[in-house]
Subunit: 557 residues, 2 copies
């Protein structure tokens, strides 16, 4: 990295704003234990599976002596799963605290995710190596990956790596699955008497890793700022050109927090929320009808344009399509050779007619041919439908086009309808972290160090009070098991971190619900513009609507 | 617009930086004539067609008395064609100067493009109405449109509007076609003895409206900043996740300036330039081969990822595809009923086999089926192939995927290849104007007023020396005819503004050519980040690489 952009050069100079408690010397930050914790469900089973780490108390940092923080440590760090803006600052906070504690301490970055821990592929991260990554986006300092440490061989290999590098701790930066794995590793190492402790850091742009101790996962703020910028720009184009409906899919496979946040930031006409679709058991036809009615109603006022926000995972929350996908996966796996021998789409459709339930075949037949083909062609290595490759935005645009054509014939639609589709995902995952995420991640990294240096194991770094200025943030940790419950995965009960889906009774969804009829009919767009790093704090440091509303909601309780 | 975003609130407060000469009272800005001008070609024919406006001198503003600038004027303004960031500031500069000259002067904004002039649909723009649009993106204050004033009826209607509103002048904000129309209107009104004068303002994000007097069209700076932000974010994702090649199409139907600028700002691995493809007569197979070789070479170093930038209009510059499109348009129009009766893709393909030349049929057969279908299905109201709807990014990704599979079998490719495709267009057209475009557009608006108030007709506003700070910019105008030449359109010779395509011998293309082999093989990405409005001028006010390199090139001459 010899040449860098003008913005990057400036961002290197940015000094993250640090919570007052973390500005102390690491030897003067002590853990205060704040009551024992349980799990998010199935407590007894969790206790049975995680005897060494379950039920530990939440930790809060206070000023006080902490001599172990000055010891020499060997620490590993893993970036796991999809990138999120701010990952590099987690490493920066971790490294700075580690070196402040003891300059001879070492930080090893495992390459390309947990695979690096298994294969003992690493790079020592020194302050010099880190420097060009401070306050930058991406996970490219060491890469990321989606492996898990799960099999006995993998556990053995990870243990060998830990022994070889004499690791005191490993910090795992990841989402719900990766932090579940961190808990499993913490328990496994503890049960085998190994000294290596595991600390998690809550990362995911999807925003679905949170509970009372984790107000937001890092990356959500930056990513939604980019997506909202783009949705706002497109909304401005829509009301300037006045002739297109834009169907915009945004990331969020399980939870619709991103879509919801973008809707609140831009006041787009329509925003679908997967959780609501599932709760209300909406069919594809009903969703199409709702959008089509808005199209027709807006056309009455001469507004033949609009913006629809769609969460990436929507199709899996539409009961009939979820069932269809389940049956497709089952049948295509069971009779793989038979299915794979079929060449034309017509032959495949005929085969499905004989192998799917009537209901699922009916659902399949409602799909436009191009989209239906995507269900069959793009399958993952296990033969499953690749939901993330299904163009839901095009599916809905096509169905609405067909429906408004019918309404036109019936004299119920007097306007024009033309559409464009967009998918925003990769554009936001690796943007430069916002000031909020730069600050938050740096604090999370420092917090992770304090947790491991305080001898804690199986904790998730927790920095709270995030709507206040960073100086007033609190820092501490919470046992990973307190976020877990038991889910059935592939027919087996499995302890996993519970995903925080959009709460249909929560303040964020209610903010949308209160305004969406108005926004659907009346053009009320807001244009958030591009993420700003300088200038008035109201612009450069503003928090997400989700965080603000949830924080207000929590205070009311 | 009662509720606005935090950034918008701040941008309302932004005061565009104004060239020294335009900071004078309008009554103290005089036109200095700077030599007669010709056309860009076919001078005699242009002179014949534009006797009233051809050959007028270029105008440069200098300090001096200009009493007519204090008169009361009625002025119309039209936003024409695709939106570009800064259009609202052109209106702001125009209105502020008009009202400074005489508070009783009036500005009429014609609604939805030239159609508003024809239909006398307008909105008076007062300072109060304008206020919430200052320094904002979009064209939504009055909307835009793609109509032209061309037929005798339309000329008559426009004349009636001008008479009814007693218009002294109309300012047309548009690209090459719209400014061609401005020239036609200027000549038409002058020849009929009407007082209404026409002044053009150079707008297009595509950057293809420029010559020695027009250093850049407005909007190019802002739009390429957004596109480069997104390409950079995706590049950072590519080198973090290390498993995808991203094929990114950016706007630019005729010229590849946007693609070229994004490539220089991000140092993407590969950037195709339509003008070069045409000049070298490259086939689709050759382009595929070039990309596939880079994929294979990067895989040797373990880099199974990359970024390819593709200009929107590429397919029309590949000689074989251009010929195919021409034949398709011809045959589908000639035998429309016959073709439209065909239902299945197979039937259509068979029909084409009997109706296209062997060469074009060969080209058609190289297309993956999904893309080939797009050539046939999405046709415009005249039955023509809709080039902008062809997914060139997917076409190339698919062809490369097929080609590297062959290379793998031949033992010439040892990596993995997976791809994602993106198209960035609407995301950038309506972003908030960068500081540069906010300043430039405001100056263009003030300049347009000075031109019309100085009695000039058929001029394009010209603000120059743009790589210097705004205080040192010069302002004036240049006859629209000096940008024009004769082209054959639909078999007829027609005077039009000559598009400024990428100059393959110019400094901008050469900057790419000098580095592209290195960038293809070695990951050298730059991450420009999101457009900034505050903070260090090196970040918030930086000029495009295109402008800087062309300006350096011009100075060397």
């Amino acid at each position: 990295m010899t040449e860098v952009s003008a913005l990057q050069t400036e961002r290197y100079r940015y000094e993250p704003k640090v919570p007052a408690i973390l500005r102390q010397d690491v030897g003067m930050i002590a853990v205060k234990k704040a009551g024992e914790t349980g799990g998010a469900g199935n407590q007894r089973e969790l206790q049975r599976r995680f005897p060494h780490i379950y039920g530990a108390p939440a930790a809060l940092f206070k000023r006080g002596e902490n001599p172990p923080a000055k010891k020499r440590y060997n620490v590993g760090v893993v970036l796991s799963g999809g990138p999120a803006p701010g990952g590099h600052n987690v490493i920066a906070g971790l490294l700075d605290s580690l070196k402040q504690g003891n300059p001879r301490s070492k930080l090893y970055g495992f390459l390309n995710g947990p695979a690096g821990l298994i294969n003992c592929a690493y790079r020592e991260i020194t302050p010099k190596i880190l420097q060009p990554y401070r306050n930058t986006g991406g996970f490219d300092i060491i890469g990321s990956g989606r492996d898990k440490v799960e099999t006995p061989d993998q556990f053995r290999a990870a243990a060998e790596t830990a022994a070889k590098l004499d690791l005191d701790a490993v910090v795992i930066v990841g989402g719900d699955d990766s932090n579940t794995n961190a808990a499993v590793l913490a328990e496994h190492f503890a049960s085998s008497g190994a000294k290596t402790r595991f600390i998690g850091v809550p990362k995911t742009i999807d925003g679905d890793l949170k509970n009372e101790f984790i107000e937001t996962s890092f990356g959500f703020d930056s990513a939604t700022k980019v997506y909202s910028q783009l949705v706002g720009n497109i909304a401005r184009d829509a009301c300037s050109s006045r002739k297109y409906w834009h169907f915009i899919k945004v990331m969020g496979r399980s939870a619709s927090h991103i879509a919801l946040e973008c809707a609140l930031q831009t006041q787009a006409n329509i925003c679908l929320i997967s959780e609501e679709v599932e709760a209300r058991g909406l069919t594809l036809a009903q969703i199409t009808e709702d959008i089509s009615r808005a199209v027709a109603a807006r056309a009455e006022g001469g507004e033949n344009f609009g913006v629809v926000i769609i969460p990436e995972g929507l199709v899996e929350f539409i009961p009939e399509i979820k069932k269809l996908i389940g049956e497709l996966n089952g049948q295509m796996a069971k009779k793989a050779d038979e299915f794979n021998a079929l060449r034309s789409f017509q032959d495949k459709r005929a085969w499905l007619g004989a192998n799917l339930s009537e209901e699922s075949m009916g659902a399949f037949n409602t799909l436009p041919e191009g989209i239906a083909a995507e269900f069959l062609i793009d399958r993952d290595p296990h033969g499953n439908v690749q939901v993330s490759r299904i163009e839901t935005e095009r599916l809905l645009a096509t169905l609405v086009e067909q429906r408004v054509a019918v309404l036109k014939k019936e004299g119920k639609f007097h306007g024009n309808f033309a559409s464009y589709t967009h998918f925003f995902g990769y554009e936001g995952r690796c943007g430069a972290p916002s000031n909020f995420d730069a600050d938050y991640c740096y604090a999370l990294g420092k917090t992770a160090f304090m947790l491991l240096a305080s001898g804690l194991n199986g904790y998730l770094a927790s920095v709270r009070n995030l709507t206040a200025p960073p100086s007033k943030w609190t820092a501490g940790g919470v046992p990973l098991t307190s976020l877990m419950h038991i889910e059935t995965r592939k027919g087996e009960p499995k302890p996993v971190i519970k995903k925080a889906l959009v709460d249909l009774k929560g303040p964020v969804f209610r903010a949308l619900a209160a305004k969406r009829e108005e926004w659907a009919l009346k053009t009320s767009y807001l244009f958030p513009g591009s993420p700003q790093y300088f200038g008035p704090a109201g612009v450069s440091d503003r928090a997400t609507k989700t965080l603000v509303l949830e924080s207000l909601g929590a205070k009311k309780k």
